[in-house]
Symmetry: C2
Subunit: 230 residues, 2 copies
DNA sequence: TTAAATCGGTAGCCATGGTTACCAAAAACA
DNA sequence: TGTTTTTGGTAACCATGGCTACCGATTTAA
């Protein structure tokens, strides 16, 4: 039954060091739900009852946090094998702390949180491994949020942009790359308004530090960016 | 040997649902180090080699993140029984991601990260409980960082202050309370400059929304704050 | 292939909050 | 006890970035 998703599942950190055979036994215990969603459909809405740890099987979802004022902060974009709701699962108040939307048509598996921790009726041996994996994953998420806090704590827009561009440079290893986020999304991510972002990027362009057209970006003066970022 | 610290240890979430007798056996496995520090001394410095999960036995430590520009963001103030480094322990790159300083003279226990996960030589039965506790704790930390992200994502200072004051109101259950942070620390926490914070607080006072003198704070118009916060 | 929606750049105006500097009160220290 | 340090309020000036509005280019849908 889960064989058609095995490719995504095998990529999922939660199931690392668990063989496909074991995995089937684990699923016997966990009894996950699998749902499909159309593009832009809500997968989970902040404030509604928590439905379990989510694992993306196909497509992509956007995980975002919205404050009461309505401004949206993108937390992550998750593809096949990636998870969401892993923090709320073990420590939340029973409601989704984030909103998850289908960025493309997608399929998602939900694992009941209570069944991951706690003794397995069938005493399957992979439970301990599952918990250990979970620990590693949640720690990683926490560190990522730490990253996020660092970004948000940056006060000047110029510094935010510089930091972001240098991170892309480091990630791709090239001074020319495609921007992974649209202007709107980047503005959301950096927590600034879109026109302000455009304005500052244009300034950097006018100063000859960068060059860009739509998605394509070229860093012309890496050192200049560095001195702005630090 | 650990008896003198048992009071702090019993308050520590990490050892919840583990009896003192069991705890001694667990410590046989974990072989923790215990160090003492004077006021304002560094307990751990960001970037230096990770020395293990920290548990405060006495006194208080300040956990802070500093970006390259030198501006400091307070993550937490931890007292006896509270922990730090729990995220880096299981997912870090082997260095401290935060700086920890002694807010007062203090004693700290460090638990080797590798020994918490992984099978116990003496096959002590509390290891699974320890890991499960750890999972709950790290999830909780991640959610707290989420909180932090929310705070930082708020754009107007007035809204930040309102949100903070309402949280204190909710926490204490009274419209009169002592501010848990000095102006400097609050400014750090909200990621604004101290004079700007003072200025905005004075405006709120002039508008009759709040009343304060140094540490003591009184909310006079809860609803006014609420409308600013949302 | 045309119509509609989305995306991105630009400009002007102005509110917010950073910066610096100074002073008084309170606390810590000798 | 007097002195030093820390803490917090205030003011003036000004840079940053939010907001609105508009327009052309590009993509998506009909």
């Amino acid at each position: 039954m889960y064989m058609k998703w095995m490719k995504a599942l095998s990529k999922c950190e939660l199931f690392r060091r668990i063989s496909p055979d074991e995995l089937n036994i684990v699923f016997e215990c966990l009894k996950p739900n699998v749902n499909s969603y159309g593009k832009n459909e809500w997968v989970a809405v902040a404030g509604e009852r928590f439905t379990g740890l989510g694992v993306v099987l196909s497509g992509e979802v956007v995980v975002a946090k919205e404050n009461a004022a309505g401004s949206r902060v993108i937390i992550a974009v998750n593809g096949p094998g990636e998870m969401f709701g892993e923090m709320a699962a073990f420590s939340g108040d029973g409601v989704w702390p984030v909103t998850v939307a289908a960025r493309t048509a997608c399929t998602v598996m939900f694992l009941p949180a209570g069944k991951i921790v706690g003794n397995c009726e069938n005493s399957c041996m992979s439970h301990r491994q599952l918990i250990t994996n979970m620990l590693e994953i949640v720690s990683g998420k926490a560190l990522m949020l730490h990253q996020k806090v660092e970004y948000l704590a940056i006060k000047s827009l110029r510094e935010k942009i510089s930091t972001f561009l240098l991170e892309q440079y480091k990630r791709t290893g090239s001074t020319m790359f495609m921007m992974p986020l649209k202007r709107n999304e980047l503005a959301d991510f950096l927590n600034v308004s879109r026109p302000s972002l455009s304005r500052e990027m244009s300034r950097l362009r006018d100063e000859g530090v960068i060059e860009f057209h739509r998605d394509s970006m070229k860093i012309k003066k890496v050192d200049a960016l560095r001195s702005m970022s630090s």
